[in-house]
Protein backbone atom coordinates (compact mmCIF):
# COMPACT_ATOMS: atom_id res chain seq x y z
CA UNK A 1 0.00 0.00 0.00
CA UNK A 2 1.18 3.49 -0.77
CA UNK A 3 1.04 5.41 2.48
CA UNK A 4 3.34 8.41 2.94
CA UNK A 5 1.84 9.49 6.27
CA UNK A 6 4.12 9.86 9.26
CA UNK A 7 2.77 10.26 12.80
CA UNK A 8 4.25 13.63 13.75
CA UNK A 9 6.63 16.44 12.84
CA UNK A 10 9.58 15.00 14.71
CA UNK A 11 9.26 11.64 12.93
CA UNK A 12 9.03 13.55 9.67
CA UNK A 13 12.37 15.34 10.12
CA UNK A 14 14.19 12.39 11.73
CA UNK A 15 16.06 11.47 8.50
CA UNK A 16 17.65 14.94 8.19
CA UNK A 17 21.34 14.53 8.92
CA UNK A 18 24.19 16.90 9.70
CA UNK A 19 25.52 18.58 6.58
CA UNK A 20 22.34 18.06 4.57
CA UNK A 21 21.17 20.42 1.83
CA UNK A 22 17.60 21.33 2.71
CA UNK A 23 15.14 23.20 0.51
CA UNK A 24 12.53 25.15 2.42
CA UNK A 25 9.41 26.39 0.62
CA UNK A 26 7.63 29.64 1.27
CA UNK A 27 7.75 33.30 0.34
CA UNK A 28 7.40 36.00 2.93
CA UNK A 29 5.10 34.53 5.57
CA UNK A 30 3.07 32.33 3.24
CA UNK A 31 3.64 28.69 2.43
CA UNK A 32 6.41 28.23 4.98
CA UNK A 33 6.59 24.73 6.54
CA UNK A 34 6.97 26.26 9.97
CA UNK A 35 6.07 23.09 11.86
CA UNK A 36 8.80 21.11 10.08
CA UNK A 37 11.39 23.86 10.50
CA UNK A 38 10.80 24.01 14.23
CA UNK A 39 10.94 20.23 14.46
CA UNK A 40 14.29 20.43 12.66
CA UNK A 41 15.37 23.09 15.14
CA UNK A 42 14.52 20.71 17.99
CA UNK A 43 16.36 17.89 16.24
CA UNK A 44 19.41 20.13 15.91
CA UNK A 45 21.05 18.86 12.71
CA UNK A 46 24.12 21.04 12.06
CA UNK A 47 26.07 22.35 9.09
CA UNK A 48 22.95 22.65 6.96
CA UNK A 49 22.78 24.27 3.56
CA UNK A 50 19.43 26.03 3.37
CA UNK A 51 17.94 26.69 -0.07
CA UNK A 52 15.01 29.09 0.12
CA UNK A 53 13.89 32.37 -1.40
CA UNK A 54 14.57 34.36 1.76
CA UNK A 55 16.83 33.99 4.77
CA UNK A 56 14.13 34.17 7.41
CA UNK A 57 12.94 36.99 9.64
CA UNK A 58 12.43 37.54 13.34
CA UNK A 59 13.02 34.69 15.77
CA UNK A 60 11.17 31.95 13.90
CA UNK A 61 11.67 29.64 10.95
CA UNK A 62 14.90 29.88 9.00
CA UNK A 63 15.93 32.81 11.18
CA UNK A 64 15.79 30.56 14.24
CA UNK A 65 17.91 27.92 12.47
CA UNK A 66 20.49 30.65 11.84
CA UNK A 67 20.27 31.89 15.42
CA UNK A 68 21.03 28.39 16.73
CA UNK A 69 24.04 28.11 14.45
CA UNK A 70 22.70 25.15 12.49
CA UNK A 71 23.18 26.72 9.05
CA UNK A 72 26.53 26.94 7.30
CA UNK A 73 25.31 28.13 3.91
CA UNK A 74 22.28 29.91 2.49
CA UNK A 75 21.31 29.79 -1.19
CA UNK A 76 18.58 32.37 -1.81
CA UNK A 77 17.50 35.31 -3.95
CA UNK A 78 16.67 37.86 -1.30
CA UNK A 79 18.38 37.69 2.10
CA UNK A 80 17.42 41.27 3.01
CA UNK A 81 13.77 40.89 3.99
CA UNK A 82 13.04 43.35 6.82
CA UNK A 83 13.75 41.51 10.05
CA UNK A 84 16.42 39.14 8.68
CA UNK A 85 18.35 39.88 11.83
CA UNK A 86 19.92 36.48 12.38
CA UNK A 87 21.04 36.08 8.81
CA UNK A 88 22.65 39.53 8.88
CA UNK A 89 24.38 38.81 12.16
CA UNK A 90 25.80 35.47 10.98
CA UNK A 91 26.73 36.92 7.59
CA UNK A 92 28.57 39.94 9.00
CA UNK A 93 30.44 37.64 11.39
CA UNK A 94 31.46 35.42 8.47
CA UNK A 95 29.67 32.47 10.05
CA UNK A 96 27.45 31.70 7.09
CA UNK A 97 28.23 31.45 3.41
CA UNK A 98 25.83 33.12 0.95
CA UNK A 99 25.01 32.27 -2.66
CA UNK A 100 22.68 34.85 -4.17
CA UNK A 101 20.69 33.56 -7.16
CA UNK A 102 18.16 35.59 -9.14
CA UNK A 103 14.70 34.46 -8.08
CA UNK A 104 13.62 33.06 -11.44
CA UNK A 105 16.94 31.32 -11.93
CA UNK A 106 16.59 29.84 -8.44
CA UNK A 107 13.13 28.44 -9.30
CA UNK A 108 14.33 27.18 -12.67
CA UNK A 109 17.51 25.57 -11.30
CA UNK A 110 15.41 23.74 -8.72
CA UNK A 111 12.93 22.65 -11.39
CA UNK A 112 15.79 21.48 -13.64
CA UNK A 113 17.06 19.23 -10.84
CA UNK A 114 13.58 17.77 -10.40
CA UNK A 115 13.14 17.30 -14.13
CA UNK A 116 16.47 15.52 -14.70
CA UNK A 117 17.93 18.28 -16.86
CA UNK A 118 21.66 19.05 -16.89
CA UNK A 119 21.23 22.82 -16.98
CA UNK A 120 19.69 25.60 -19.05
CA UNK A 121 20.51 28.85 -20.79
CA UNK A 122 18.82 31.90 -19.29
CA UNK A 123 19.07 35.57 -20.28
CA UNK A 124 18.71 36.51 -16.60
CA UNK A 125 21.87 38.05 -15.10
CA UNK A 126 23.73 38.11 -18.41
CA UNK A 127 26.28 40.91 -18.28
CA UNK A 128 26.05 41.26 -14.49
CA UNK A 129 28.17 40.37 -11.48
CA UNK A 130 26.04 37.25 -10.91
CA UNK A 131 27.16 35.83 -14.26
CA UNK A 132 30.86 36.24 -13.55
CA UNK A 133 32.80 33.01 -13.93
CA UNK A 134 29.87 31.33 -15.64
CA UNK A 135 29.70 29.99 -19.16
CA UNK A 136 27.78 32.37 -21.44
CA UNK A 137 26.80 32.47 -25.09
CA UNK A 138 24.98 34.77 -27.48
CA UNK A 139 22.19 33.31 -29.61
CA UNK A 140 20.37 35.49 -32.16
CA UNK A 141 21.75 38.59 -30.46
CA UNK A 142 20.59 37.67 -26.95
CA UNK A 143 23.11 36.83 -24.25
CA UNK A 144 22.52 33.78 -22.06
CA UNK A 145 24.11 32.32 -18.94
CA UNK A 146 24.38 28.53 -18.52
CA UNK A 147 22.95 27.63 -15.13
CA UNK A 148 23.28 24.20 -13.48
CA UNK A 149 20.49 22.25 -11.78
CA UNK A 150 20.14 22.73 -8.02
CA UNK A 151 19.14 19.52 -6.19
CA UNK A 152 18.89 18.90 -2.46
CA UNK A 153 18.90 16.06 0.02
CA UNK A 154 15.62 17.16 1.58
CA UNK A 155 12.75 19.49 0.77
CA UNK A 156 10.37 20.83 3.38
CA UNK A 157 7.13 22.05 1.81
CA UNK A 158 3.83 23.38 3.12
CA UNK A 159 0.41 22.73 1.55
CA UNK A 160 -3.24 23.30 2.25
CA UNK A 161 -4.41 19.71 1.94
CA UNK A 162 -2.89 16.30 1.35
CA UNK A 163 -3.73 12.60 1.24
CA UNK A 164 -2.02 9.33 2.09
CA UNK A 165 -0.63 9.05 -1.44
CA UNK A 166 1.37 12.24 -0.82
CA UNK A 167 -0.68 14.43 -3.14
CA UNK A 168 -0.67 18.09 -2.14
CA UNK A 169 -2.66 21.14 -3.16
CA UNK A 170 -1.91 24.70 -2.11
CA UNK A 171 -3.85 27.80 -1.09
CA UNK A 172 -3.44 31.11 -2.92
CA UNK A 173 0.13 32.47 -2.96
CA UNK A 174 1.31 29.84 -0.48
CA UNK A 175 2.10 27.73 -3.55
CA UNK A 176 5.25 29.69 -4.53
CA UNK A 177 8.43 27.56 -4.38
CA UNK A 178 6.78 24.51 -2.82
CA UNK A 179 5.90 22.57 -6.02
CA UNK A 180 9.35 22.89 -7.63
CA UNK A 181 11.17 22.08 -4.41
CA UNK A 182 9.01 18.99 -3.90
CA UNK A 183 10.35 17.72 -7.28
CA UNK A 184 14.00 18.38 -6.62
CA UNK A 185 14.90 16.63 -3.38
CA UNK A 186 15.95 13.07 -2.73
CA UNK A 187 13.48 13.07 0.18
CA UNK A 188 10.55 15.48 0.25
CA UNK A 189 8.59 16.08 3.44
CA UNK A 190 5.22 17.82 3.17
CA UNK A 191 3.43 19.55 6.02
CA UNK A 192 -0.26 20.11 5.25
CA UNK A 193 -3.01 21.95 7.06
CA UNK A 194 -5.37 19.00 6.63
CA UNK A 195 -4.33 15.44 5.87
CA UNK A 196 -7.32 13.60 4.52
CA UNK A 197 -8.25 9.91 4.56
CA UNK A 198 -9.94 10.39 1.21
CA UNK A 199 -7.94 11.18 -1.90
CA UNK A 200 -7.74 14.71 -3.26
CA UNK A 201 -9.59 15.42 -6.51
CA UNK A 202 -6.98 14.47 -9.16
CA UNK A 203 -7.68 17.76 -10.99
CA UNK A 204 -6.85 19.81 -7.89
CA UNK A 205 -3.51 18.14 -7.16
CA UNK A 206 -0.54 20.46 -7.80
CA UNK A 207 2.21 18.24 -6.36
CA UNK A 208 1.60 14.61 -7.35
CA UNK A 209 2.36 12.19 -4.54
CA UNK A 210 5.25 10.63 -6.44
CA UNK A 211 7.35 13.66 -5.45
CA UNK A 212 6.50 13.33 -1.74
CA UNK A 213 8.14 10.81 0.57
CA UNK A 214 6.56 11.76 3.89
CA UNK A 215 3.45 13.78 4.71
CA UNK A 216 2.30 15.07 8.07
CA UNK A 217 -0.60 17.16 9.30
CA UNK A 218 0.13 20.48 11.00
CA UNK A 219 -3.05 22.51 11.37
CA UNK A 220 -1.57 25.82 12.45
CA UNK A 221 -0.86 28.32 9.76
CA UNK A 222 2.49 30.03 10.12
Amino acid sequence: MIDKRVPDLSAAVAPIHDGAAVMIGGFGSSGIPMGLIHALLDRGARGLTVISNNAGAGEVGISALLREGLVSKVVCSYPRTPGSIWFERRYEAGEVELEVVPQGTLAERIRAAGAGLGGFLTPTAYGTLLAEGKETRVIDGIGYVLEPPLPADFALVRGEAGDRWGNVRYHATARNFNPVMAMAARHTIAEVRTLSDTPLDPHSVVTPGIFVHAIVEHGERP
Binding site: A115, G116, N167, P199, P202, P208, G209, I210
Partner: protein, 211 residues
Protein backbone atom coordinates in the same frame (compact mmCIF):
# COMPACT_ATOMS: atom_id res chain seq x y z
CA UNK B 1 10.09 -25.57 -27.60
CA UNK B 2 7.78 -24.64 -24.76
CA UNK B 3 6.77 -21.00 -25.16
CA UNK B 4 4.96 -18.80 -22.66
CA UNK B 5 1.91 -16.99 -23.94
CA UNK B 6 1.97 -13.20 -23.93
CA UNK B 7 -0.19 -13.19 -20.82
CA UNK B 8 2.17 -15.61 -19.13
CA UNK B 9 5.16 -13.40 -19.88
CA UNK B 10 3.22 -10.39 -18.57
CA UNK B 11 2.31 -12.30 -15.42
CA UNK B 12 5.92 -13.34 -14.88
CA UNK B 13 7.09 -9.75 -15.15
CA UNK B 14 4.22 -8.51 -12.98
CA UNK B 15 5.38 -10.80 -10.18
CA UNK B 16 8.60 -8.74 -10.01
CA UNK B 17 6.82 -5.42 -9.50
CA UNK B 18 6.84 -4.69 -5.78
CA UNK B 19 4.11 -3.12 -3.70
CA UNK B 20 3.99 0.71 -3.81
CA UNK B 21 5.99 0.93 -7.02
CA UNK B 22 5.58 3.75 -9.54
CA UNK B 23 5.61 2.21 -12.99
CA UNK B 24 5.34 3.30 -16.61
CA UNK B 25 4.05 0.69 -19.04
CA UNK B 26 4.79 1.04 -22.75
CA UNK B 27 2.22 0.58 -25.48
CA UNK B 28 1.14 -2.95 -26.46
CA UNK B 29 2.35 -6.01 -24.56
CA UNK B 30 3.92 -3.94 -21.72
CA UNK B 31 0.49 -2.45 -21.07
CA UNK B 32 -0.89 -5.90 -20.33
CA UNK B 33 1.34 -6.25 -17.24
CA UNK B 34 -1.13 -4.18 -15.18
CA UNK B 35 -3.74 -6.94 -15.41
CA UNK B 36 -1.41 -9.45 -13.78
CA UNK B 37 0.01 -7.70 -10.73
CA UNK B 38 -0.71 -9.94 -7.72
CA UNK B 39 -3.59 -8.99 -5.42
CA UNK B 40 -2.70 -6.90 -2.41
CA UNK B 41 -0.04 -4.80 -4.11
CA UNK B 42 -0.85 -1.14 -4.72
CA UNK B 43 1.05 -0.21 -7.89
CA UNK B 44 0.74 3.26 -9.40
CA UNK B 45 0.95 3.44 -13.17
CA UNK B 46 1.92 6.62 -14.94
CA UNK B 47 0.75 7.34 -18.44
CA UNK B 48 2.93 9.94 -20.12
CA UNK B 49 -0.02 11.88 -21.52
CA UNK B 50 -0.56 13.19 -18.00
CA UNK B 51 -1.90 10.85 -15.32
CA UNK B 52 -0.41 9.02 -12.38
CA UNK B 53 -2.74 6.37 -10.95
CA UNK B 54 -4.15 4.78 -14.09
CA UNK B 55 -7.06 2.46 -13.28
CA UNK B 56 -8.68 -0.32 -15.31
CA UNK B 57 -10.92 0.17 -18.35
CA UNK B 58 -14.21 1.90 -17.53
CA UNK B 59 -17.47 0.01 -17.12
CA UNK B 60 -19.86 0.40 -20.03
CA UNK B 61 -21.64 3.76 -19.80
CA UNK B 62 -18.88 5.26 -17.65
CA UNK B 63 -16.41 6.03 -20.41
CA UNK B 64 -14.79 9.46 -20.38
CA UNK B 65 -13.44 10.28 -23.86
CA UNK B 66 -10.87 12.61 -22.31
CA UNK B 67 -9.48 10.02 -19.90
CA UNK B 68 -7.10 7.85 -21.92
CA UNK B 69 -3.70 6.25 -21.60
CA UNK B 70 -0.65 6.44 -23.87
CA UNK B 71 -2.13 3.64 -26.01
CA UNK B 72 -5.13 5.96 -26.54
CA UNK B 73 -7.34 3.45 -24.69
CA UNK B 74 -10.09 4.57 -22.32
CA UNK B 75 -9.05 4.20 -18.69
CA UNK B 76 -10.17 5.24 -15.21
CA UNK B 77 -8.34 6.77 -12.25
CA UNK B 78 -7.37 5.02 -9.03
CA UNK B 79 -7.93 6.73 -5.67
CA UNK B 80 -4.92 8.99 -5.13
CA UNK B 81 -4.46 9.75 -8.83
CA UNK B 82 -3.25 13.11 -10.17
CA UNK B 83 -3.42 14.85 -13.54
CA UNK B 84 -0.60 17.02 -14.89
CA UNK B 85 0.64 18.46 -18.14
CA UNK B 86 3.15 17.04 -20.56
CA UNK B 87 6.20 18.93 -19.28
CA UNK B 88 5.56 17.75 -15.73
CA UNK B 89 4.82 14.22 -16.91
CA UNK B 90 8.25 14.02 -18.51
CA UNK B 91 9.85 15.68 -15.49
CA UNK B 92 8.53 12.67 -13.59
CA UNK B 93 10.06 10.30 -16.14
CA UNK B 94 13.35 12.07 -16.85
CA UNK B 95 13.85 13.21 -13.27
CA UNK B 96 14.20 9.71 -11.86
CA UNK B 97 10.95 9.68 -9.92
CA UNK B 98 9.49 6.46 -11.33
CA UNK B 99 10.81 3.11 -10.12
CA UNK B 100 10.26 0.93 -13.17
CA UNK B 101 9.52 1.26 -16.87
CA UNK B 102 8.33 -1.73 -18.87
CA UNK B 103 9.05 -1.46 -22.59
CA UNK B 104 8.80 -3.50 -25.72
CA UNK B 105 11.85 -3.92 -27.95
CA UNK B 106 12.98 -4.76 -31.44
CA UNK B 107 16.40 -5.72 -30.07
CA UNK B 108 18.30 -5.82 -26.80
CA UNK B 109 22.09 -6.15 -26.70
CA UNK B 110 24.12 -7.92 -24.03
CA UNK B 111 25.51 -4.56 -22.87
CA UNK B 112 21.98 -3.30 -22.17
CA UNK B 113 21.55 -1.31 -25.38
CA UNK B 114 17.92 -1.02 -26.40
CA UNK B 115 16.46 -0.57 -29.89
CA UNK B 116 12.71 -0.07 -29.95
CA UNK B 117 11.89 3.00 -32.01
CA UNK B 118 13.15 2.75 -35.58
CA UNK B 119 13.99 0.02 -38.06
CA UNK B 120 16.08 0.45 -41.13
CA UNK B 121 12.93 0.38 -43.24
CA UNK B 122 12.90 3.62 -45.25
CA UNK B 123 9.24 3.33 -46.14
CA UNK B 124 7.97 4.04 -42.65
CA UNK B 125 8.58 7.28 -40.80
CA UNK B 126 10.47 6.90 -37.52
CA UNK B 127 8.37 7.41 -34.37
CA UNK B 128 10.00 7.73 -30.97
CA UNK B 129 7.30 8.88 -28.52
CA UNK B 130 8.47 8.83 -24.91
CA UNK B 131 10.81 5.82 -25.04
CA UNK B 132 14.06 7.81 -25.03
CA UNK B 133 12.91 9.89 -22.06
CA UNK B 134 12.03 6.76 -20.09
CA UNK B 135 15.37 5.06 -20.62
CA UNK B 136 17.16 8.31 -19.74
CA UNK B 137 15.37 8.72 -16.42
CA UNK B 138 13.93 5.52 -15.01
CA UNK B 139 16.33 3.46 -12.88
CA UNK B 140 14.84 0.02 -13.69
CA UNK B 141 14.18 -0.70 -17.36
CA UNK B 142 12.40 -4.02 -17.91
CA UNK B 143 11.88 -5.25 -21.45
CA UNK B 144 9.03 -7.58 -22.35
CA UNK B 145 9.07 -9.15 -25.81
CA UNK B 146 9.03 -12.35 -27.83
CA UNK B 147 12.41 -14.04 -27.80
CA UNK B 148 12.64 -13.96 -31.60
CA UNK B 149 11.04 -11.83 -34.31
CA UNK B 150 8.41 -12.99 -36.79
CA UNK B 151 11.07 -14.38 -39.09
CA UNK B 152 12.52 -16.38 -36.20
CA UNK B 153 15.58 -14.15 -35.92
CA UNK B 154 16.96 -13.58 -32.40
CA UNK B 155 16.17 -10.28 -30.66
CA UNK B 156 18.69 -10.76 -27.83
CA UNK B 157 21.96 -9.90 -29.54
CA UNK B 158 25.63 -9.19 -29.01
CA UNK B 159 25.04 -5.79 -30.56
CA UNK B 160 21.90 -4.01 -31.80
CA UNK B 161 21.67 -3.47 -35.56
CA UNK B 162 18.73 -1.05 -35.37
CA UNK B 163 19.14 2.56 -34.16
CA UNK B 164 19.40 2.76 -30.37
CA UNK B 165 16.76 4.11 -28.03
CA UNK B 166 19.37 4.24 -25.30
CA UNK B 167 22.83 2.84 -24.60
CA UNK B 168 23.32 0.42 -21.71
CA UNK B 169 19.90 1.03 -20.21
CA UNK B 170 18.14 -2.36 -19.97
CA UNK B 171 18.16 -4.23 -16.65
CA UNK B 172 16.12 -7.32 -17.44
CA UNK B 173 14.42 -8.97 -20.40
CA UNK B 174 11.26 -11.09 -20.06
CA UNK B 175 10.50 -13.30 -23.07
CA UNK B 176 8.45 -16.37 -23.93
CA UNK B 177 11.57 -18.43 -23.20
CA UNK B 178 12.66 -17.00 -19.86
CA UNK B 179 13.98 -14.12 -17.82
CA UNK B 180 17.42 -12.66 -18.57
CA UNK B 181 19.39 -10.12 -16.56
CA UNK B 182 21.85 -7.73 -18.18
CA UNK B 183 25.14 -8.00 -16.28
CA UNK B 184 28.59 -6.57 -16.90
CA UNK B 185 29.45 -9.96 -18.40
CA UNK B 186 26.36 -10.20 -20.64
CA UNK B 187 22.98 -11.90 -20.42
CA UNK B 188 22.60 -14.03 -17.30
CA UNK B 189 19.73 -16.54 -17.21
CA UNK B 190 17.48 -15.77 -14.24
CA UNK B 191 15.10 -18.54 -15.19
CA UNK B 192 14.00 -20.51 -18.23
CA UNK B 193 10.41 -21.22 -19.19
CA UNK B 194 9.58 -24.71 -17.89
CA UNK B 195 10.44 -27.54 -20.24
CA UNK B 196 13.31 -25.90 -22.15
CA UNK B 197 17.00 -26.52 -21.79
CA UNK B 198 19.66 -23.82 -21.80
CA UNK B 199 21.00 -25.18 -25.09
CA UNK B 200 17.61 -24.92 -26.75
CA UNK B 201 17.15 -21.31 -25.61
CA UNK B 202 20.75 -20.49 -26.51
CA UNK B 203 20.02 -21.64 -30.06
CA UNK B 204 17.38 -18.90 -30.40
CA UNK B 205 19.58 -16.22 -28.86
CA UNK B 206 22.08 -14.00 -30.67
CA UNK B 207 24.44 -13.59 -27.71
CA UNK B 208 25.99 -15.99 -25.22
CA UNK B 209 23.74 -16.81 -22.26
CA UNK B 210 25.41 -17.16 -18.86
CA UNK B 211 23.94 -19.79 -16.57
Amino acid sequence: MMRLTEDQIAARLAADIPDSAYVNLGIGLPNRVAQHVPEGREVFYQTENGLLGVGPAPLPGQEDPELIDASKKLVTTLPGAAFFDQAESFAIMRGGHLNIAVLGAYQVAQNGDLANWATLDDKHPPAVGGAMDLVAGVPQILVIMRHTDRAGEPKLLERCTYPLTGAGVVNRVYTDLGVFAVTPDGFRVVELAAGNSLDEVQAETGARLLA
